[in-house]
């Protein structure tokens, strides 16, 4: 038995898979922000599990990221190289909101009086320019402790190339006080760029005491209830680690929720033989998209918290699955701007007050209301009756738009749907076209409450020929994805090197082996020895700044491999940016992933009996998508397997609704996945 737990902002999801019986159980309980373990335990207990029989718990959480966003972390200190204590405040000095002459940059997480300097210095080639002065370090540490910091970040210039001084500072701190939490920037990332690395270390230090305490507590709670198996923490790179690792480097867990959904999609794709996937997670307030190529998620260290069009946010240089999110979901609000144009989102009605049709006090027209008016969503009830729908209220809300443009209400509703679909397509364009991939080569995996509603339109717009709507209930897909993860660590190291130089082949081999050895020893310390290694290099033409990621072969690299690497780089550069250059080529960052496979999660075929098309048929509904029409509605639970439904059609079950457009056709496969093609 394995258990996946996902603590979200509003709900905590628990999903349990019992390998012996093949049963999949799940529940959703409210998150308890003051002590999230209360909600987790409540959820687990509500399923009446015997924890003695469970061998695996995989845990994802939003506690870490919320601690940062709500600024509820520890009082921390920062130790930097002399001359650089203000780097956290200077940042990159950019004015992202460039016409705003009262622009404010993000506030640093350590105030100036807790940022102290030491006079050591490492050179850019790793040599020591000024050695460490131990007395000075001791004095600085004493001062921070006197000011009652509980956690200290250390970030020294050029530590990415030689961390020896940071390690020395660690020893000295621990000698003075072995209880205080310490984060070394070079432990978290070996990438260059001092502001980004310092900020990453600072945020780790900031959340470390809290996450440490929480993980300790939840482990105790499970052990007290007889759990004897292994506990793993979900990471932002789509893998998991031991709790020990996550306690030291909680910054690696920030995106653990959304990322698990992508892992789930990969898992289902594997069973179906689909390797190139665009995931589309349509939530209530946002849409998230990610791209999976050859069953591998795209891992990047260009990740920011709270970044948007007008704010640079906070850089976090840890391996994170590349996800693009936009404020466009099922409850996004439609509004008319000052120049009379219709917009959808980013403001959303959320669960409170929710769409107008839910009758909880929402008055604004939302996308859900538009779906109801156009007949795409059930005008009486949703989620198997859990939500009562009032079409009249939806009409009232949408009529604000219709009256403004003096058009029929259905046309206004269809306008809202069209614009929301455009927004959704744009997210997919960003994650694919802008990264050099052609979306037509991919299968769209749509999940989340609104994902299956968007998917058929988006697929048409982008000429994606196949959509998979996974069989897992929409609301707990991420938690389910956690059950399918493997142990995974990614290491990235900056070591810029031109690959055309004579001595570079040796260095390239050395760097990859160095990273591989580190990844292997991390995994070995967690008890794993059977390890799959994957290599990448972030490369560019000599003189460029930005890089593209190139998959690198394993084993020894010789001249012939170098030629192949060059070829791959040129090909990828051309695909993304439409040209190649006749310039020398440089590797900037070396990236190694180490993966230890957990026991495979079996996917069970569903019951074929009692499924007939005439039983599944629920009736005909009037729809409007540019013209009035009548669409059949089917109950997904009763649809026969492998039966081809010619669109248009609406497929409902207790957790979500899917639609099949005019010239599309849908089939329920033997696992219960709905597959739409055209």
């Amino acid at each position: 038995m394995r258990i996946g737990i996902d603590i979200g902002g509003a709900f905590t999801d628990v999903v349990v898979f019992d390998e012996n019986s093949g049963d999949l159980l799940w529940t959703k309980v409210e998150t308890t922000p003051d002590d999230p373990s209360v909600g987790v335990i409540k959820g687990v207990e509500s399923l009446n599990l015997d924890l003695k029989n469970a061998d695996l718990i995989i845990h994802g959480q939003t506690l870490a990221i919320n601690t940062i966003i709500e600024r509820k972390g520890a009082k921390i200190g920062l130790i930097t190289t002399k001359g650089f204590r203000d780097i956290l405040e200077i940042q990159r000095a950019n004015r992202r909101d460039m016409y705003n002459f009262r622009y404010k940059k993000p506030e640093p997480f350590v105030p100036r009086y807790l940022r102290l300097e030491i006079s050591e210095r490492i050179k850019s080639n790793g040599e020591i320019l000024r050695p460490i002065n131990e007395e000075e370090v001791n004095a600085v540490v004493q001062k921070l402790l006197e000011m009652k910091v509980s956690s200290i970040a250390v970030s020294l210039i050029n530590s990415y190339i030689n961390p020896i001084h940071e390690k020395k500072v660690y020893e000295l701190i621990k000698k003075i006080d072995d209880k205080v939490f310490v984060t070394l920037s070079s432990d978290i990332t070996r990438e260059w760029k001092e502001y980004e690395r310092t900020n990453t270390a600072v945020l780790n230090a900031y959340i470390m005491p809290k996450i440490h305490e929480y993980l300790d507590k939840i482990e105790r709670e499970f052990r007290n209830r007889g759990f004897k198996g292994n506990l793993f923490a979900m990471l932002s790179n789509g893998g998991t680690s031991t709790f020990e690792f996550a306690k030291k480097y909680p910054i690696y867990t920030l995106e653990s929720g959304p990322v698990a959904g992508i892992v789930g999609a990969i898992k289902i794709g594997e069973v179906m033989g689909i390797k190139d996937i665009i995931t589309f997670d349509g939530g209530s307030t946002t849409t998230k998209a990610s791209l999976v190529f050859n069953s591998e998620p795209n891992i990047t260290t260009e990740y920011y918290i709270n970044r948007n069009r007008y704010s640079p946010g906070y850089p976090v240089k840890v391996p994170t699955v590349d996800i693009i999110e936009t404020g466009n979901g099922g409850t996004s609000i439609a509004w008319i701007d000052e120049t009379n144009n219709l917009n959808v989102g980013p403001k959303a009605a959320g669960s409170m007050p929710g769409p107008a049709a839910y009758g909880r006090g929402g008055k604004d027209p939302t996308l859900t209301d538009a779906y109801i008016i156009c007949g795409l969503l059930n005008p009486e009830e949703l989620l198997g009756g859990k939500i009562k729908v009032n079409r009249k209220l939806a009409e009232e809300a949408i009529s604000k738009i219709a009256n403004y443009y003096i058009i029929p209400i259905e046309e206004a509703a269809y306008g809202i749907i069209k614009i929301a679909n455009y927004n959704a397509s744009n997210v997919i364009r960003l994650i694919s076209v802008q990264r050099g991939y052609d979306p037509r080569d991919f299968t769209l995996f749509a999940y989340g409450g609104s994902g299956p509603m968007f998917a058929p339109f988006v697929a048409k717009e982008l000429e994606i020929r196949k959509i998979v709507i996974p069989y897992i209930p929409a609301g707990v897909f991420s938690a389910w994805g956690m059950l399918a993860t493997d142990i995974r660590h990614d290491l990235v190291m900056s070591f810029p090197i031109r690959i055309d130089k004579e001595d570079s082949i040796k260095i390239i081999n050395d760097k990859f082996y160095e990273l591989e050895n580190r990844v292997k020893s991390t995994l070995a310390s967690e008890g794993f020895n059977e390890i799959i290694i994957v290599r990448y290099a972030e490369m560019r033409y000599y003189g460029q700044e930005h890089t593209v990621k190139v998959p690198i072969m394993g084993g020894v690299i010789r001249d012939v491999e170098i030629e192949e690497i060059k070829r791959r780089f040129n090909e990828i550069h051309k695909a993304i940016y439409s040209f190649t250059l006749d310039s020398p080529i440089e590797i900037v960052n070396f990236h190694v992933s180490g993966i230890a496979k957990l026991n495979k999660l079996p996917i069970i075929k569903i019951n074929k009996e009692n499924r007939q098309i005439d039983k599944a048929f629920k009736g005909i509904r009037k729809t409007y998508l540019g013209k009035y029409d009548e669409w059949p509605v089917y109950d997904k639970e009763l649809l026969p397997l492998n039966y081809e439904i010619q669109g248009p059609a609406i497929i409902e079950d207790d957790t979500s609704t899917a639609i099949i457009l005019n010239d599309q056709k849908g089939v329920l496969d033997e696992y219960g996945n709905l597959i739409i093609t055209w």
């Binding site: 001359g83 004015r95 016409y99 009262r102 760029k193 502001y195 455009y422 250059l581």
Partner: protein
Amino acid sequence: MVDIFTLEIIKNGLIAASEEMFYAFQRTAKSPVIYEVLDYAVGITDYKGRGLVAQSPGVPGFSGVLDFTIREVLNKWKNELNPGDIIATNIPYSGGTHLNDVALVMPVFYKDELLGFIVNKGHWSEIGGMHFGSWTSDANEIFQEGLQLPSIKIYIEDRPNRDVIDIIKANSRLPEATLGDMEAQIGSMKVAKKRIDELVRKYGIEAIKEAMEKLIEDGEKLSKLRLKELPKGTFEAEDYIDDDGINDNPIYVRVKVTITDNEFIVDFTGSSNQVNGSINSPLPATVSAVREIYMAVTDPHALPNAGYFKPLKIIAPEGSIFNPKKPAATSTYWESMSYATDLVWKALAPRVPEKLSAGHFLSILATIIGGIDDRTGEPFAIVEPQPGGWGASYNSDGESALVASGDGETYIASAEVYENRMPILVDRIELNTEDGVGHGKYRGGFGIIKDYIILCKEAYFTVSIGRYKYTPWGVNGGMNGPPNYCVVYKKGEKPRIIRKAAALKLEYGDKISLHSAGGGGWGNPAERDLNLILNDIINGYISIDTAEKVYKLDKNLLKDIYKKL
């Protein structure tokens, strides 16, 4: 006729095409001035070249130059444009800024019909001239500032015009970077072209034209709405630019801003004539500068397109420093251009306090350090603006260490990256608490101090620094900020304060210390909240001495400070 919702989708598609072009250029350029400083702008215009329908400037200082560029190209080539042509132009007076900024223009056709233009104007690191980096503070005519490209076809019907490209190559001290940037510029335009072609295929050419029209109409409509919210009347300001880089005389500049329900008129009449040095601001640059502040006072989040700027009228007499004639030197044009922004800002700050702060450090302390890296034998060049302090506002302190008003999503480089790529040591980058800020009820933000130590046998240093004599202005009793300056430490010589230098020779171990100014204050310092003063002392932003002298802090309160920790 397409419905209003589809039109909305096409509009967004055009904006997205421009944004994709912007992103692609940043990701592939070879010069830091492009990929970090974002000294470029891209856009799409309609077929009449009448106005931009979509643009994505990396720096606000480029908001106005693209439409001049298209007009210049149309004036010269009229009906002789064909699919696959790309035209390069960099003439300051008619279409631009300084010779380093080269605009590439690609006409977009559908079948035989001209639909519009794609334009990408970017700062090329080297285009010849008297000193390394091309721009210099000691030029006195344009011929010293580099190669002039008066709307030259560099691609003719998809074929590169080899002769012209060879001329460019031969005239650049950094041909690798220059041509690499040009390729990246063209590549990014192709990305936009592909996107526009898709839109045409899907919706048809008429729908695209209609959407372009709509974008401009919407812009004008929103602009007029915003104009209604501004105070009406005539507002004036005057100031001095330190000098022209050739002699030390201050240069008088002034503005009269008239705001009515339908117009925003900015009149620079009465400002100095064009000057001998290279600080002249060509008309397109002046227009950009004014558009930038117009966005700031009306709606910083509006789309900057031709329609939005319709209510804006700019008067800058020909032959003046804000509209110089050939052969005026313009290579450090920003020194005056930023005054065009700053004058309007100064005139309006007390009247539009929720949108505008007190004066900022203004001069970008533009710096070139170049030479040969002894480690590789290859040339290197740092070309960068510096960040500084911004002014206080009516309800908050100013921001520290931000790029100047003419720069936007402009990044300062990482010390670690610089040390790896260039033979220099970055000895410190810290907030400039030495020179301080303009004090007030709310104080200005801090500038920075950045120290570079040269680690090669020989390097050359060019710098242009303004607002040394005439410092960032305070508002309503707030004090002025300190000056911008630079100190050069050469072996065996006394340290020297420098404001302008052209290719000054430096040697191994020499140090350059750049000091940018803090912003101006807002309101009387005596009214400053005690907690804010104490907080500044705790954090080392101000000294106890300053607190006593400027803020009249009672010494007995000092013991409270340490309780706060």
